[in-house]
Amino acid sequence: MNVVETRSLTKVYRGKRAVDRLDMRVAQGDIYGFVGKNGAGKSTVMKMICGLVTPTEGEIALFGGEEPAGEGGLRIGALIEDPGLLPNLTATENLMAKALASGIVNAPDRCAETLALVGLGETGRKKVRGFSLGMKQRLGLALALIGSPDLLLLDEPLNGLDPEGTRAMRNLIVRLNQSFGVTIIISSHVLDQLDRVATRFGVIANGRMVREMTAEEVQVECGDSLRVRTTDPARTLALLEEALPKASLRAEPDGALSVSGTVDQATVAQALRASDQTVLELTQVKRDIEDYFVELMEGGARHV
């Protein structure tokens, strides 16, 4: 079942398309890494999914089209942009305010459990205004979790966290997914951190979904690849497509071809020699995941 499925989702602000006919599919149990530059439309998409923003066009189907059930059926938790904390109250009071507003039964016990889960069980009477950025992020996560959601939307939850805080947040996200079965959509600029937790990725650029792929697909495409440059790139492309049907081929801006997938250097050299191609370059390249996503976000990659 797809927990989230959007079809031609569009949001227009003052004539500008912030989100443009976006199709997105998040399956149950996914940790969906939502990647895009600043202003690409990630937050707007997340806000539309959790009902904070009304789409201009398009559809959003949640939980396979099931309707949320009553006051207690809070199935979506969200931490979008900032945690939305009340600075003059304590962590417990912040959680209680949200729990009461959500009609959660046995709110005091539930608040204590959730605070313990995010590691804020010992904050006592300390007001939130005195919290560190990491503590505020964790409390924001607690607010999102208080209704025991099935879907969690986290927008840049690692922003401003120190390495220890980042690791704690990452572990918590994995634990929520694996132990509690929560489906998580997470956006982050810290791509190497996202790469460690995400099971699927979606790349958004200028409001449009550039590509959705599994973590395995990303690993394959980011793995070792071959850079091939010949005197006739178009013919080389056609030849390699035919000779290496399982390989992924990508044309580089300088006319070279990037060959990735389960293919070795000798096979490519043999195919080129057999067709009498003049090889100018044939080298093995190790790609960085950050470069890979940046390339996708900038729309520079042309898939063939």
């Binding site: 009902g51 904070l52 009304t54 938790g77 009071e93």
Partner: protein, 337 residues
């Protein structure tokens, strides 16, 4: 909606805003009662008499200078003293006169020292309602509290995953304004009672329970209009500054005074304006000014012949609250968070 209200009441009870607001209100009431008490003391009467004597002497000096001769005629001196200024009496006291020439005897002066108030609700009206004090304080607290939802981003937490709750959220906030008004009214009334009791004041007229609680209900409605209107403005603008400015200008009665003044100016050309201003919420506040005695049957000052003051106050306030609620829930719930 009930769960949202519970959450807001929890936040108010655990935060500082409500308690600071109530303490401020109690202080203002105590200060006003203290001033009223001081006006009934012999020291104040002596101050008034001394000031009157100084004014008389200044006037006499002024007459000398105007005359140019340095001589004050018997007629001029007598006239000045009897029509405008205090004069020495045979008993060595003063006859205090006002600008209209009416003179106040020492007995009349002493009557000012009586610690008597017209009625309970009359004193509440003068202290809390007529000057717009209660409406302004409640509206300011409502503006600050409602705006904090958007300033802190807490509203996002409430709405996330529950887009259909937006209308309920907006209606609940205005219900909260009503609850806040009731709390502030009751606390202010208690503070007024306490302050006057401590200062030794008594009430001249006793009210029936119906008159008392009838007035209290109408006062609640009248003040709630301003709190709800301020709440609606904050929900639509999502701005604390706009809410505060609205509370100060509208809830204090400043805007109503300007409207009434303009209506009076244009009334000769458009006589309908004289009747139209009677339908303003501010006119309801004015009708409450004399207290609860006879309010339920009085038709004096109402916009329509035969319409009692209480019915007019209820009608105008109810309509204004309904309009604000409809506007906030219809327009506000369509806005993205």
């Amino acid at each position: 909606m009930f769960s949202l209200l519970k959450s807001d009441l929890y936040r108010l009870a655990h935060g500082k805003m409500l308690w600071v607001g109530l303490a401020l209100m109690a202080l203002l009431v105590a200060g006003a009662a203290g001033l009223l008490w001081f006006a009934t003391t012999p020291q104040f009467a002596q101050m008034v008499a001394d000031q009157a004597e100084r004014d008389r002497q200044d006037m006499t000096t002024g007459s000398y200078q105007q005359d140019g001769s340095g001589q004050l005629t018997a007629e001029e001196g007598a006239e000045g003293a009897s029509t405008e200024m205090p004069e020495a009496t045979t008993g060595g006291g003063f006859r205090i006169t006002d600008g209209s020439g009416a003179s106040l005897t020492p007995e009349e002066v002493s009557s000012f020292s009586e610690k008597m108030l017209p009625s309970r609700t009359g004193s509440y009206a003068q202290m809390l309602i007529s000057g717009g004090l209660l409406a302004m304080v409640v509206s300011l607290v409502a503006a600050l509290f409602l705006a904090s939802d958007f300033e802190t981003g807490f509203a996002k937490n409430v709405f996330a995953g529950r887009s259909r709750r937006r209308a309920a959220y907006h209606v609940e906030k205005l219900v909260l304004c009503g609850v806040l008004t009731a709390v502030f009214l009751l606390v202010s009334v208690a503070a007024t009672e306490g302050a006057f009791a401590l200062a030794g004041f008594e009430y001249r007229a006793a009210e029936t329970l119906g008159e008392y609680w009838g007035w209290m209900g109408l006062a609640w409605l009248s003040v709630m209009v301003y709190a709800v209107a301020t709440g609606a403005v904050v929900l639509l603008s999502r701005s604390k500054a706009v809410g505060i400015v609205f509370a100060i200008i509208v809830a204090s009665g400043m805007l109503a005074n300007i409207v009434v003044m303009l209506a009076s100016a244009f009334a000769p050309a458009f006589p309908i304006l004289n009747d139209a201003v009677k339908w303003l919420p501010a006119s309801g506040v004015k009708l409450l000014g004399s207290g609860g005695v006879g309010l339920l049957t009085s038709t004096e000052g109402t916009a329509l012949a035969g319409l009692t003051a209480s019915v007019q106050v209820a009608l105008v306030s109810g309509a204004a609250i309904a309009v604000c609620t409809a506007l906030a829930s219809a327009v506000g719930s369509r806005k993205d968070v």
